[in-house]
């Protein structure tokens, strides 16, 4: 009978029928030695206490992470006078969109957003492709000097942008040293056109050659990923008459689709968040991150027609937080829809193991 089988205790003793669960347990306990009982007791106690502790820990830490976001939300919809109202903690007394719309005005939000998205997505697309090709080259081929060259990739990860920013600026300003030559040959009118500063090319050109923002890390990730793919794939393609380039495009890339998406998403985030590189090469505020960085001055110009008027720092927070909210929202929307690829991608990308 099924019920009788259930009564078979795990250690093989047959337990009589018709006993309640409590009695079965008692029999079990009698058969155990002291150590086993202590182990069970400890385990039971842990199982009761731990979930509570875990909840408290996670709740507290989640609060620390979400606090700035909640504060942004709360600030962005306040009126100015709420900042001096001690009864306002989280929920504003005067709900208004004034601060938000002023900030959007100062940042020229929609136009900047369009620019930024175009630049980010364009650069990221180009960079993902070039980095994947480079990573594949490092993962699947054996050639002289490979270790040395890969050492350069590691250097790209380690060297901070700040070290190479100024020489890079010079390269863009004078078009790799071509500008003086052209100016001598064709006169200053033509020569002055050869200045890449403030053009999107400053972002696109390095990305096109797998040298954009955090390119080293991306090459590294792709190399790890392609290394993890089985060699049989390549051999089979070779036997079927595929050259290395066709093997890459027709066999390897389809296998790497999710990895591509993850790296692409991170690349978009890094380009979106970057203000150091872009502030070196753009004198105008062309991206959201730069706008946010200079929001103080922009606001003073917008609200008081002068760059030097100081808004009281306490009230200034409102605009800053509204700006933060505007800068973060597109990222959050992306994160909400594609969270899976952010988190699972890292696991699959081969960075681990």
């Amino acid at each position: 009978m099924a019920k009788e089988k259930e009564m078979l205790a795990s250690d093989g003793h047959v337990v009589g029928n018709g006993l309640s669960k409590k009695e079965i347990r008692a029999i079990h306990m009698r058969n155990m030695n002291k150590e086993e009982i202590a182990y069970l007791r400890r385990k039971e106690a842990m199982e009761k206490v731990w979930p509570v502790a875990r909840f408290l820990i996670l709740f507290g830490l989640c609060f620390i992470i979400l606090y700035p976001l909640m504060y942004m939300l709360s600030c962005s919809f306040r009126a100015q006078e709420d900042m001096s109202d001690p009864t306002v903690m989280w929920i504003p007394r005067h709900l208004t969109l004034k601060i938000l719309s002023q900030t959007m005005d100062a940042m020229d939000f929609w136009k900047t957003l369009g620019n930024t998205l175009l630049l980010n997505i364009g650069c990221s697309l180009v960079q993902v492709v070039t980095c994947a090709i480079t990573g594949y080259g490092f993962a699947r081929f054996r050639f002289k000097g490979k270790n040395l060259l890969f050492g350069i990739v590691i250097m790209m990860i380690l060297v901070p942008n700040q070290i190479i920013a100024i020489p890079q600026y010079m390269e863009f300003r004078y078009c790799l040293g071509l500008q003086p030559i052209i100016e001598n040959a064709f006169g200053p009118a033509v020569g002055s056109k050869f200045n890449l500063i403030d053009t999107p090319l400053t972002m696109y050109l390095p990305a096109l050659m797998a040298n954009g923002i955090r390119a080293g890390l991306m090459i590294f990730i792709f190399r790890q990923f392609f290394k993890g793919l089985p060699k049989e794939l390549e051999d089979a393609a070779y036997l079927d008459g595929c050259g290395p380039f066709r093997t890459f495009i027709q066999v390897m890339v389809p296998n790497a689709a999710s990895s591509f998406l993850t790296v692409f998403l991170f690349s978009v985030v890094w380009y979106w968040n970057d203000y150091y590189v872009s502030s070196t090469f753009f004198t105008q505020n062309a991206t959201i991150a730069l706008m946010l960085k200079n929001l103080n001055t922009l606001l003073s110009i917008k609200l008081f027609n002068s760059a030097t008027v100081e808004i009281s720092p306490r009230e200034q927070i409102l605009w800053m937080e509204a700006g933060c909210l505007l800068a973060v929202t597109p990222l959050l929307v992306m994160y909400a829809f594609l969270q899976k690829y952010f988190t699972e991608g890292i696991e699959r990308s081969g960075l681990v193991g």
Binding site: R54, T130, G137, F141, M209, F245, W270, L332, Q339, T343
Partner: protein, 297 residues
């Protein structure tokens, strides 16, 4: 002419990395060499490029002997990295272990803990971090006090711990006041550890359960050895991350010098810092490599 397959394949390898190689020569190696040269030169920007005269080690001497802030900043940044890195590692491993368990709302908790990954590299982080670390009226006022007041000190008094030495207490307080920075900088590390935890084979777990390992023993004897390669990866990542952060004091000093047109000195500063961090990463790697358990297939 027929070349052996392996050699032909090797040539294709050059083809795959050719684009990157050209780019790196132009956008990375050349600027890098230039910047190293600047550090030995008195540089001024002129039409057509930087002009400079060779001054030898003068810039380096200036950085250490004349500049009052640099050495101070350098020491404080190195010290901060020294205590913050292990804390971030321990914290992220701990959180990863928790997030690896099954419980209700796990998906939500994971989503929240990875949130800093997408925000913490941007200017937004600097603003909210400034809000929280600056106390008093100059910033978010009533709200930030939540984090800036001496909560830990009060807790100690409440529990009745008075005997702690001052140094100990300040240490605990700095840590507790920096919890925001730690939590917000641990996103990627949590992600990496979590992935490593999920790679622990089920057989190891079952064996431990059969032997009656407690959760504590399981952590030290199974979890830690299995994730140890990732500890090194996370460690290096954390060090590099804090080292290249634009809000880091030394980097700030370098940027100040650059906007003062003192490119030679700025380059010298950056290179000293870079050399120190590179040496630190190298030493850590060599030492840790001896403790890491690599599973050999």
């Amino acid at each position: 002419m027929k070349m052996p397959y392996e050699r032909r394949k090797g040539l294709y390898g050059y083809g795959f990395i050719a684009l990157w190689l050209v780019g790196t020569l132009i956008w990375f190696l050349y600027p890098l060499a230039n910047s190293l040269m600047y550090s030995f030169m008195e540089v001024r920007p002129e039409k057509g490029g930087m002009q400079g005269t060779w001054v030898g080690l003068k810039n380096y001497m200036y950085v250490f002997t004349v500049d009052q802030n640099y050495s101070k900043y350098l020491v404080s940044v190195l010290l901060e990295t020294l205590w913050k890195t292990p804390l971030i590692l321990i914290f992220s491993l701990f959180i990863a272990v928790i997030l690896n368990q099954k419980f209700k709302g796990r998906a939500f908790a994971r989503a929240v803990f990875f949130l800093p990954v997408i925000i913490a590299t941007g200017p937004v982080y600097n603003i909210i971090n400034g809000d929280i670390s600056k106390s008093g009226a100059s910033s978010a006022g009533q709200f930030s006090t939540m984090f800036s007041t001496d909560l830990m000190g009060e807790l100690f008094q409440f529990i009745g711990i008075y005997g702690l030495s001052d140094k100990m207490q300040t240490m605990v307080e700095t840590v507790s006041n920096n919890i925001f920075g730690i939590v917000w900088n641990a996103g990627i590390q949590i992600l990496i550890f979590l992935a490593a935890l999920q790679n622990i084979p089920v057989s190891a777990k079952e064996a431990a359960q059969m032997e009656g390992a407690t959760a504590w023993e399981y952590f030290w004897k199974i979890t830690l050895p299995y994730v140890s390669p990732m500890i090194l990866a996370c460690l290096i990542f954390t060090v590099i991350d804090s080292f290249t952060a634009p809000d880091n004091l030394v980097m700030g000093r370098v940027l100040d010098m650059q906007s003062d047109w003192q490119y030679g000195n700025a380059a010298a500063m950056a290179w000293i810092y870079f050399a120190i961090v590179l040496a630190a990463v190298g030493i850590i790697t060599v030492i840790l490599n001896q403790f890491i358990y690599y599973e050999v297939d």
